[in-house]
Symmetry: C2
Subunit: 202 residues, 2 copies
Amino acid sequence: MSSVRRRNPKGSGEQLRAELVAAAARLVDTLGDGSKVTLRGVAGAVGVAPTAVYLHFADRDELMIAVLEDRFDAFTRQIDDAGAGIGDPLEALRRRGVAYIHFAMAQPGAYRMMFSHVGVELDREDLFKRSIAAGMPSYDSLVRAVTACVDAGALRGDPKGLANVGWGVVHGYADLAAVGVPFLQPPEEYLGAFLGAMDQRR
Amino acid sequence: MSSVRRRNPKGSGEQLRAELVAAAARLVDTLGDGSKVTLRGVAGAVGVAPTAVYLHFADRDELMIAVLEDRFDAFTRQIDDAGAGIGDPLEALRRRGVAYIHFAMAQPGAYRMMFSHVGVELDREDLFKRSIAAGMPSYDSLVRAVTACVDAGALRGDPKGLANVGWGVVHGYADLAAVGVPFLQPPEEYLGAFLGAMDQRR
DNA sequence: TGTACATCAGTGAACGCGCGTTCACTGATGTAC
DNA sequence: TGTACATCAGTGAACGCGCGTTCACTGATGTAC
């Protein structure tokens, strides 16, 4: 309710779009769950009338999808950054996993919206099409990181299959952490144990 | 809307409670998500007026918690059954994992309600107290199964820590499957790869 | 054996609420003449 | 330099809807006398 908002200058109405997405992304995490984010709440957080949302989004779904895409971008960037420039590909993979989990813990609402579709109300078909499209760059990047490990002899098997196993392992921890399950060890320990067991070079 | 319901005979009003829980549990899965289950929908499915729910539950939350407890009971039973009477403790653990994943795939809405708190609207504190209480028998049972593996020399480490890793690994696959992610290999393969890598006896 | 009555398993109308969404509008600002 | 006007960034009142929940009630049925 920051009601001290000045209207955007003529020609830069598009700024509001970004403000709405940012506010919604913030609310998803502070409310803990995308399903608690309302159009009116987002508008109120930006300091604008509820109807102003319709200047930039066809409906609530489109706003939430925009948040999804925004968060997937940030997610992919953070993980790629964490793995960039690390010599040992298995160590790079481990760091990617840690970054993945840190994202989920820092932004639990967003994470659960991205991967468990909590709070996005599209019907399954549309939702899948759009969230898979949003997440694909991140998935491709994971497969590349795994392929590098296979090429280096650190892992054995089909890269895509291995990537899926790895994804499952990391998602399991990340989701439990995002939900707030206690008695989990630190992510570094969890991933170390898993990747250590998988390492073919020991 | 099976409106051909006859009222329960005098003295057995408690039957309605069980019917409501069963109908709600069914709806959680057919609607795909606990948040889509309404008190009116549950009552309608049983063939009773919405207000009849209040004869057995203080409010919607209490009904949903009852569903949670009911599904945790079924969950624990199915998994324990799957691991019972298997000689090799690591094989028993693998079968438990497969049963776990099968439950999640067969009852995705219930699974996500149990472990990701999707569709239960209690505040965090109460929800945690009650869902942890409901899930504890299952968790204890897992720790016992892991301890048996450690005692047999199949796994090395702290049983509780190992149990948490295993839970994360299985939950990751189960939740992705419950959400409907494509390109996952069969659960047997996923678990075989993981437990094979962890086996200290090979 | 008959009847009054308490009990029990529900019902039905109505409520207030917050939501997404619609529609006609306003008022500042850059631009054309 | 002044003014008419189109454009643009929003507003505000109002809607219908489905929800959880309340309250006073009904009508069948077992039981006491």
